[in-house]
């Protein structure tokens, strides 16, 4: 028994020693500036205050982050990764991880992610969307599912209980819509894009039992897709002005400025809605999982190792070290201290005493409950952005009235998908 214990402790010591030695060896060679292309995130901005810490850890390497908003970041990362490959680290997301991985634009993360940074600590849902073809490609910087966020004061005044089903939700939205008093029933996303209007439409599509493909045959012109679109368009009648061509910013802005009664949005909304610095309705906000049968839109954004800019193993390891440090427990603790709710991804942080103190038990419970209905709604395929963006344009046309025939729009998408599949073969 004693021998066994000695053996175990020797192995553990050897592992620790080897990881320390490898970190020191790596540190000795990480001296270049790591270039990162990302979209604006408070958590990344916060990192810039701790550049010296990373320089010390890496043995002299610094980092520079260029920021672009979501759609532009997607376009620029795609253009850069496929051509000159200037960036060592890309900010990628659930929608394009398959494309980046299959095109060889990013390197498998776990080959270069130091084990002592404990990747397994990330929320399992976020790990799932960061994985494609059995390999992990990014370390989460944000992610989650959906929550139904509502104004408790407005619902109480109208005598409405927080809706649990979609029918109740639609009825409540209609009743709460009072444009003459500057209150709109809901706020949706109308702006074209697989990550914009399509993202908010998908929970209806999947919730009604829709599927993107049956084998390799596209099946978008299904009854479920028609019903999902009809329901989405119906709700748009009660959506805040500006949301018809707006995205996340417009929907969230309308809610936090006190002009929307309830909406279903990605979980970071809660952090913004309950923060008095960014919300006029802080203290009046309730949250629950999305009403049944809607699924939550599981998503995750994170940092991945660029394959082209990191030509050798050492460069890739340096980029891996940066990613590990940027998403480490220490940096997540700093984000928690800075009240950056939407930038928290680690189970150890979200179940910590400090998290409960800051956000209360209700939010923790709501996040746990919504985790049960969170699903991967999109088509996990390299061609998803192409397909999703095309549907985004057709959907925006339907929302703004430049086309009216839902079935015709879905048929057009079906034809486009067939071409897409044929092109890929």
């Amino acid at each position: 028994m004693r021998k066994a214990r000695t053996l175990v402790s020797s192995i553990a010591f050897a592992c620790l020693l080897s990881s320390t030695v490898s970190t020191i060896a790596l540190a000795a060679e990480c001296t270049d500036t790591i270039k990162v292309l990302a979209q604006p995130r408070d958590g990344l901005t916060l990192l810039e205050d701790y550049k010296a810490e990373f320089e010390k850890l890496s043995g002299g390497a610094s980092f520079e982050i260029d920021y672009l908003n979501e759609n532009d970041r997607r376009a620029k990362t795609k253009a850069d990764a496929s051509t000159i490959g200037k960036y060592n680290v890309y900010y990628i997301d659930e929608a394009n991880v398959a494309l980046f991985a299959s095109a060889g634009w990013v390197a498998p993360l776990m080959d270069y992610y130091p084990a002592d940074y404990d990747y397994a600590d990330f929320d399992p849902g976020r790990q799932k969307v960061a994985t494609y073809d059995g390999k992990v490609w990014f370390a989460p910087i944000t992610g989650g599912g959906d929550l139904m966020v509502y104004r408790k004061d407005l619902l109480e005044a109208a005598g409405i209980a927080p809706p649990k089903t979609l029918d109740e939700y639609i009825a409540a939205v209609k009743k709460l819509n009072q444009p003459d008093q500057g209150i709109y029933g809901t706020a949706l996303r109308g702006q074209r894009g697989s990550g914009a209007n399509v993202w908010r439409w998908m929970p209806f599509f999947k919730g009604f039992g829709g599927n993107w493909f049956d084998g390799k045959t596209p099946v978008f012109d299904s009854e479920q897709a028609v019903k999902a679109t009809e329901t989405y368009l119906e709700l748009f009648k009660y959506s805040a002005p500006g949301s018809q061509t707006g995205g996340w910013d417009e929907a969230v802005g309308a809610f936090t400025s006190g002009q929307v009664a309830m909406l279903i949005e990605s979980t970071p909304l809660v952090g913004m809605a309950i923060d008095p610095k960014s919300s006029k309705v802080a203290g009046k906000v309730g949250y629950l999982p999305p009403p049944a049968p809607l699924t939550g839109g599981g998503y995750g954004h994170g940092l991945a190792i660029g394959a082209k800019a990191n030509k050798d193993e050492i460069s890739k390891a340096c980029a891996g070290l940066f990613i590990a440090w940027a998403t480490s427990k220490e940096n997540e603790s700093r984000r928690l201290e800075a009240n950056q709710f939407s930038e928290l991804n680690r189970t150890s942080i979200m179940t910590s005493k400090k998290f409960a103190e800051l956000y209360g038990p209700d939010l923790g419970q709501a996040l746990a409950d919504t985790g049960k209905v969170t699903a991967v709604n999109f088509w996990q395929n390299p061609q998803w952005p192409d397909l999703g963006d095309r549907w985004g344009i057709i959907l925006e046309e339907l929302i703004t009235g430049t086309r009216t025939d839902i079935k015709d729009g879905l048929d057009e998408l079906n034809g486009f998908a067939k071409d897409l599949v044929a092109r890929s073969q």
């Binding site: 759609n71 997607r74 376009a75 620029k76 795609k78 253009a79 496929s82 051509t83 494309l99 299959s102 095109a103 444009p179 003459d180 109308g190 702006q191 074209r192 805040a240 002005p241 500006g242 018809q244 061509t245 707006g246 309308a254 400025s257 002009q259 390299p382 952005p385 192409d386 963006d389 095309r390 344009i393 925006e396 046309e397 929302i399 703004t400 009235g401 430049t402 086309r403 092109r423």
Partner: protein, 286 residues
């Protein structure tokens, strides 16, 4: 004598070589890849002949983009010149020299503002809930005014921003041009009891025909490059009602599909069409 003749060639050669590298290489490469089926996610591609060009003419978004681009050119060039001439005359007639200088400075400011910044400023100004430009309408009617989400008004609203930037700038140029005109024809017209508008339509504007045509050409070229303004304000929406050719090509190349060969075929067609149209107009004007 021989040395004298070769001097222009000596000076021109380096510049022409740089121009050839900068202009010809990308152009030839664009034509080359437009004949392939390359995508960003696939480094290699096969030659497909004119398939991309043929596909374009059955693509409803491409056909729509041609219409939007032509409308955009006509509206922005036409409105800019109308505003420029109208304001220029107004300043010349009504403002004191000191006031002209102050207003000229103010009118120059919009064009100095980077286009993306101007687009963001106006996008917020036109927001139906908290936009300053839509506030009076909301205050009077109690209804929000969502100009950028309305297919009937979106393109005109973006064009308004373009005209705000360039129309005011050109009005300063028109003012300066009017100041350079000789006073005698105007004095003669007044002696003949010509009305103010007659003086301008029959004397001043015909005298300024050549510089005004030059301004129109400058604006036509500038309007072709309005991608940033439209992209920030509407992203081509609602639907595809403000999607111009350059925006659709960019979408196909980098935002949606990564179909760079297809996008290049659009760019090549645009280049050919603009070269022909501009050459034709230039010859007609001359």
């Amino acid at each position: 004598m021989k040395q004298k003749n070769s001097l222009p060639a000596i000076f021109l050669t380096p510049a022409m070589m740089i121009l050839a590298v900068l202009a010809l290489v990308p152009t030839v490469y664009a034509i080359y890849i437009s004949l392939q089926n390359r995508e960003l996610s696939r480094p290699d591609g096969d030659f497909v002949g004119l398939a991309n060009y043929i596909d374009l003419f059955s693509d409803r978004r491409f056909i729509n983009a041609i219409g939007v681009s032509l409308t955009w050119e006509a509206v922005t060039v036409g409105m800019t010149l109308i505003v420029a001439v109208g304001l220029g005359i107004l300043l010349f007639e009504c403002a004191s020299p000191r006031m002209r200088n102050i207003l000229a400075l103010l009118f120059l400011m919009p064009v100095i503002l980077p286009r993306v910044s101007a687009a963001f400023v106006w996008k917020f100004a036109f927001h139906p809930l908290y936009g300053i430009a839509t506030y009076p309408y909301k205050a009077i009617t109690g209804q929000p005014l969502d100009l950028l989400s309305n297919p009937a008004t979106a393109l005109a609203t973006v064009a308004l921003v373009d005209v705000w930037q360039w129309g005011l700038f050109f009005s300063v140029i028109v003012l300066k041009l009017l100041q350079t005109l000789p006073p005698q024809p105007f004095e003669a017209a007044r002696l003949d009891h010509a009305r103010t508008w007659e003086t301008y339509t029959h004397i001043a504007i015909p005298m300024l025909k050549a510089p005004l045509i030059s301004l129109a050409f400058v604006k036509m070229i500038e309007s072709l490059r309005a991608f940033d303004l439209i992209y920030v304000m509407t992203r081509g929406g609602p639907g595809i009602t403000t999607e111009t050719l350059d925006m659709y090509a960019f979408s196909q190349g980098f935002i949606e599909s990564g179909r760079i060969s297809y996008a290049s075929s659009m760019a090549v067609l645009m280049m050919i069409a603009t070269s022909i149209v501009f050459t034709f107009i230039w010859k007609r004007v001359q």
